[in-house]
């Protein structure tokens, strides 16, 4: 700060009196000289205004509340004392929550909240709507009316009675089905007895040569041909048989070998 003289007061003297002036303890001629210097000095005048403003800003700051566990932590870290009384005090500062609110909070927080988050999704709502629609249509088709449900008695005796009725109905139905099957079986037996005796088998198939190793006909093995023909997109060799034929006139003049794609 420049050492400036104005109205008989130097700037460093002004700064020393600044706190007293702001605190309101500066009075009399000292205050007059101070104010006169503040009015004319271009350095000290703004300094007074700023210092007053800064003090007002700081006075606006309120005390902050320390954490509830601070005292307990301090005692635990100094004396190792973790008294029950302090725990009670710390608990007393917290708002009381009834057991029902506690159950509600824990239930909603841990169980219902994820379910509710899923339910709120549009696709789940759509699926639920479709399921409800299908159920209502099914009930309508089945002839179930909501008005009928009013007449349903939910007394244990009535439920037991309904259960036995349904069970008896199912048993009767099964017995009836069993009787029908027995009648059908008897009819089939009668038919089989009345039918004429069937003729002997027409022609038995030629027996397969037992030893293929002795075959000298030069014919390709049929099994091999069958395998070729069974596979799609494979070429099938079409050729005249080279083995003995029934007549000599049927012998081909030219032996032609073609490849044909089996479609």
């Amino acid at each position: 700060m420049p050492d400036q003289t104005s109205n008989g007061m130097r700037c460093n003297e002004f700064e020393l009196l600044l706190t007293d002036a702001i605190d309101g303890v500066l009075t009399g001629t000292g205050l007059d000289r101070f104010q006169a210097h503040a009015r004319v000095c271009r350095t000290c005048g703004p300094l007074l205004a700023e210092a007053e403003a800064g003090r007002n800003w700081l006075k606006g700051l309120t005390e902050v509340e320390p954490p509830a566990s601070l005292v307990m932590n301090i005692l635990a870290s100094t004396t190792g004392v973790d008294t029950q009384r302090l725990r009670v005090n710390a608990r007393a500062t917290q708002p009381r929550i009834s057991w029902w609110e506690h159950v509600q909070a824990s239930l909603f927080g841990s169980v219902l909240e994820p379910i509710w988050a899923t339910v709120r999704q549009p696709r789940f709502a759509m699926s639920f709507g479709m399921a409800f629609f299908a159920l209502s249509v099914g009930l309508t088709v089945a002839g179930v009316k909501p008005a009928d449900l009013r007449e349903v008695s939910l007394r244990p005796a009535a439920i037991r009675h309904a259960y036995y009725n349904a069970h008896a109905r199912v048993v009767r139905k099964l017995d009836n089905v069993k009787a029908v099957y027995e009648v059908q079986a008897a009819l089939r037996e009668v038919k089989r007895n009345l039918a004429p005796v069937e003729t002997a088998p027409q022609q038995s198939r030629p027996a397969k040569p037992k030893d293929d190793k002795n075959d000298t006909t030069q014919q390709p093995e049929q099994k091999q041909e069958r395998n070729y023909s069974q596979i799609d997109d494979h070429l099938i060799l079409a050729s005249a048989p080279l083995g003995p034929s029934p007549s000599a006139d049927d012998l081909p003049v030219v032996s032609v070998t073609t490849y044909r794609r089996f479609v």
Partner: protein, 199 residues
Amino acid sequence: MEDVQVVAMLVRRCIAGDSAAWEEIVQTYSRRIYNICYRFAGSGDDAQDLTQEVFIKMYRTLPSYDHTKGAFVTWVTTITRNLLVDHFRKGKQDRMTDSMDTSASDHEDAQPLSEQIPDQSAPPDAHVRSREVSETVHAALAKLSPELREAVILRDLQDMDYKEIAVVLKVPEGTVKSRINRGRAELARLLQRTYRQVM
């Protein structure tokens, strides 16, 4: 402020091993120490840790307290202040010392500190006690240099007199007043510039 005899008795009981006396001391002074630490350190977590450290140090050095040399609250505040300064030096959190208008960064384009304070949407007179304003002032306070900050905290937030502050800070009373004036002026300049930009 405090009844010297009562506090002296409390300290004697505590030194003798009375845990209830120590608990009473903790209950009485924890709030004050926490607030000093909070305003100086800037964050609640740091303030909580520092407050615990202050009480640990106080618990160990309690027998050295002499009630004839000064008030207990001054002794406690001195311990707090020394620990805060140690913490500050350890963390190398050196702030800007004098001018708030200079840039904190070496870059030419860097904003001055006054422009890094969050803007406010209302004039200061209308919302001087609102929470947003408190946070702004708290943030501006954290930008002051440690010497100016501790002086204004002890004077304007803890209402200590200049002699006590001089004892705590171990500087002459004139220096205390000068630091308080400069700290207040810097804070006002910083906040006024912020609000002027908005208006």
